[in-house]
Amino acid sequence: MRKVFIVEDNKDLCNMYERLFKLHGHEVTVASDGLDALDKLRQVKTKPAVILLDVILPKMSGLDVLRALKNDEELKNIPVVILTNSFNETNENLFLAQGASLYLVKIENDIKDVIEKVNKLLSLV
């Protein structure tokens, strides 16, 4: 069992991914905007094993959150999976360059693909 932190502003998707990871035995924490996410991540003592980060988020964008994470000594080693519906090769390259571990387009990745790829990442880490 690993700790998974999901940053997703859409309630439906958030619930779905939370359920997905719980079904697969993970402990899930969620945040609905960028600032909320950073606050929670900084406050929590036990840091998550992986962070699923949406791109378009209220208050603080996914990219800014990613940059903040990578600049945070305590958080920078946590793998970040960009989970978005905005497909753009430039974006993908940009996020990967900023230290994201994976770039997944939600609609192109069925829930089975998502859990598969994240579990694979977790086993590697």
């Binding site: 519906n85 609609i107 069925d110």
Partner: protein, 755 residues
């Protein structure tokens, strides 16, 4: 003698001098003498209708030429001597008789003259009077011709002034007693006698002097026939003058009265006539009335006059006469014939009223009126011309104005109907033409539209004046595609107006303002649509699809009812389909916006074909179809293309083949064609009718009928996107063959990667 005309020239205004050549001719002539020129050709009819010859003043000064001057107003000469060809010979009669005076100045000279025979002597006597002729001259002058009275006066004057000139006159026949009485004995015998006169008189006189003892050698006789016209006898005239005197005197104060003989020679002149004509009475008497002729009236006028009176009628008319001093006077004349005892005409009486003042006034009036008329006519002509010109110009102006107005109206209407703002301005930014849209777009009152105002409104966004000036200076367009103006987006175009005719001079600029706010909103909403499609649409789709999958995958055991399971399956399928549609749309839009990026790398198509066959095997198996890849005997070379995109195309074509095939097989094959590798997908499906084949590869086109559509559940974009991809790779996608009911073969080609 006949003399040739050698020269002719105008020696003074209106006076012509004709020179007769004297070469080889003896023409004894002395200054001041009268010369008679008698030329058949020079004869002309005077106002009496008579043939005349002339005596004229002459002034010879050399031996070679006889020079005769005459006034051109003397119409006969003007017409003849004045016009006759040079070199023509004319008959010229020299001084009458042998007028050569003796060398011995002591010899006394006696002139005997009758009638107008006096004239040849007169000039000599004038010279004598001026002491040019040193002779002692005695003149015996018999004058029965009233016309000669005028000479007598002059002769008397000459005699008074010159001691060596003795005038002896006799108003009747010269007979021996008269001669003896007037000339002393010695003189009669010693003198040289010169006799000139009519033949009868001359011969008679000659006889007389011979009888008196004058030797024949001492006489010089010249017969001269003067006028042949009948002359009223002196007796008759004197009687007439005497009878009329009392009556005529009564008229003296107011009326000009003259009496002439039948030839017009004046025998009576009253005071008023004398006063008016400025001749003395003595000068008038004996002179022909024509001395008063002014030259104003035509010959015909006089002919008519003479005809009237000579046929016994009274002539009445207005005559312009010339006085001695050259001045003119007008008279209203009544001229009537005077009849003698036997009822024969013996002369004429003229009663004339002076009308000079009236005539002058009339002349002046006439002249003024003529001038006025001329001026008026000229003015009228000019005015008429002007009027015509004006009308023509006006008409043209009206026409042109109307045309221009129409043109302008059309232009303005066109410009005003433009949705975009239109301004034509000169280089000083003065607006020459603008339309209503300008004010509307900028949201300012129409009357306040000036370039400065517009520039001010847009200040901070664009410096319009500076741009306009650069546009003129650089002769180039400035396209400002997106200028933010408040909440609006404007597109501004500044274009110079170049006069090609005038050396490409820039005379201003055109400014176009377009409100592109709506277009921007549209564009934005299209972008927003894709944004929604990619985010807002995809997000719930992901949730629907994800939850459906999760239910089927993780909660299958909890779903007892197979129908619920089926329903969940339908939701999942529909979700997938919807996702595919959305993805197709997104892909197409990326293509159309040229945002699609390709990564062409060499790869082996047979590997890709294996992969696709593996992926779609399950789908084919479900329908009981055979799906296989028939690799060629020799491995084909790699192609250069974007592998992911080509996989998409191959999946699309293979998927279609599976969808459209009920039984049979789908075979993927490879074929090397030149420098291209052809990928073929052959099925045993329903086939496509030739009509529909042409519609393939088009946007939103699906082959087949309604049933087929139900079967395939495609979006209609698959082949179109495939076509775009293959063409982007430099290949061609085609339907090689298709027979309805038998199957189809689709193929696409890809460039071979360089070795």
């Amino acid at each position: 003698m006949k003399l040739a005309i050698a020269e002719r020239k105008e020696i003074a205004t209106g006076t012509i001098e004709v020179a007769f050549n004297l070469s080889g001719k003896e023409f004894h002539f002395q200054a001041g003498q009268y010369v008679w020129i008698t030329l058949q050709r020079l004869f002309y009819n005077d106002e009496h209708g008579q043939s005349r010859c002339f005596s004229i003043a002459s002034s010879p000064n050399d031996k070679k030429f006889l020079r005769i001057a005459f006034r051109v107003s003397q119409s006969g000469f003007k017409r003849t001597l004045g016009e006759i060809a040079l070199g023509s010979e004319v008959e010229v009669e020299g001084p009458f008789g042998d007028m050569v005076l003796p060398d011995d100045h002591s010899l006394p000279i006696v002139f005997v003259a009758g009638g107008i025979g006096i004239t040849p002597f007169l000039s000599m006597l004038r010279f004598a009077a001026e002491e040019k002729i040193p002779y002692n001259i005695t003149l015996l002058y018999a004058n029965r011709n009233p016309e000669s009275v005028v000479y007598l006066k002059e002769l008397e004057e000459l005699a008074r002034q010159n001691a060596n000139f003795i005038l002896r006159n006799h108003f009747d026949l010269l007979d021996a007693p008269a001669i003896q009485k007037n000339i002393n004995e010695g003189t009669i015998k010693t003198a040289l006698w010169y006799i000139v006169g009519p033949p009868a008189m001359a011969t008679e006189t000659e006889k007389i002097i011979y009888k008196l003892g004058v030797s024949r050698g001492r006489t010089r006789l010249t017969e001269f026939n003067g006028y042949s016209a009948p002359v009223a006898t002196g007796e008759k005239i004197e009687t007439l003058a005497g009878l009329s005197e009392a009556v005529l005197r009564a008229l003296d104060k107011n009326v000009l009265v003259s009496i002439t003989d039948l030839r017009g020679t004046i025998i009576y002149a009253n005071d008023k006539f004398v006063e008016t004509s400025k001749y003395s009475r003595e000068e008038l008497i004996g002179r022909n009335h024509r001395i008063l002729k002014s030259g104003f009236h035509r010959v015909l006028f006089y002919q008519e006059l003479w005809h009237t009176i000579s046929t016994g009628h009274v002539w009445r008319g207005e005559i312009k006469n010339r006085a001695k001093d050259g001045s003119f006077y007008w008279v209203d004349a009544n001229i009537a014939p005077i009849f003698g005892k036997e009822n024969e005409a013996i002369g004429y009486i003229a009663i004339r009223f002076l009308i000079t003042e009236r005539k002058k006034l009339e002349e002046k009036l006439e002249e003024d009126s003529r001038e006025l008329k001329d001026t008026k006519a000229a003015i009228l002509n000019v005015a008429e011309d002007l009027e015509r010109e004006k009308e023509s110009v006006e008409r043209k102006v009206v026409e042109r104005t109307r045309e221009l107005k129409e043109e302008q109206a059309r232009l303005i209407a066109s410009i005003n109907s433009l949705k975009f703002g239109f301004i034509v301005a000169d280089p000083a930014h003065r607006i020459l033409l603008k339309n209503q849209a300008v004010a509307k777009i900028l949201g300012i009152p129409e009357e306040s539209v000036t370039m400065v105002k517009i520039s001010g409104i847009l200040e901070g966004t664009v410096n319009l004046l500076e741009r306009s000036e650069r546009c003129i200076a650089e002769k180039q367009n400035f396209d400002l595609p997106e200028v933010l103006f408040g909440s609006k987006f404007l597109k501004i175009l500044i274009s110079p107006i170049v006069m090609i005719r005038d050396h490409n001079e820039v005379i201003g600029y055109v400014l176009l303002l377009e409100d592109i706010t709506e277009a921007k909103i549209l564009e934005r909403s299209r972008d927003e649509f894709f944004s929604i499609a990619s985010h807002e649409l995809r997000t719930p789709l992901t949730a629907i699809q994800g939850n459906a999958s999760m239910l089927l995958d993780f909660y299958a055991d909890k779903i007892k009812d197979p129908e619920v399971k089926q329903m969940l399956g339908d939701i999942s399928t529909a979700g997938h389909r919807l996702i595919k549609i959305v993805n197709d749309f997104l892909e197409l839009s990326r293509f159309e916006q040229k945002r699609m990026k390709f990564e062409a790398k060499p790869f082996a198509v047979h590997d890709l074909a294996d992969e696709v066959v593996k992926e779609l095997k399950g789908l084919a198996d479900k329908k009981g179809l055979e799906l296989r890849f028939d690799p060629p005997a020799v491995s084909p070379p790699n192609v250069l293309a974007d592998r992911d995109k080509i996989k998409e195309v191959l999946i699309n074509l293979t998927g279609n083949a599976i969808n459209y095939t009920k039984t049979g097989s789908i075979v993927i094959g490879l074929e090397l064609v030149g420098k291209m590798l052809k990928v073929k997908i052959k099925d045993t499906g329903i086939g496509i009718s030739p009509v529909n084949q042409g519609l393939l590869f088009r946007k939103f086109q699906q082959a087949g009928d309604v049933l087929a559509r139900d079967v395939t559940q495609g979006t209609g974009l698959g082949l179109y996107i495939s076509k775009l991809i293959i063409e982007a790779m430099g290949g061609v996608i085609t339907i090689d063959e298709s027979i309805p009911g038998k199957g189809s073969t689709f193929s696409f080609s890809l460039p071979i990667a360089a070795a």
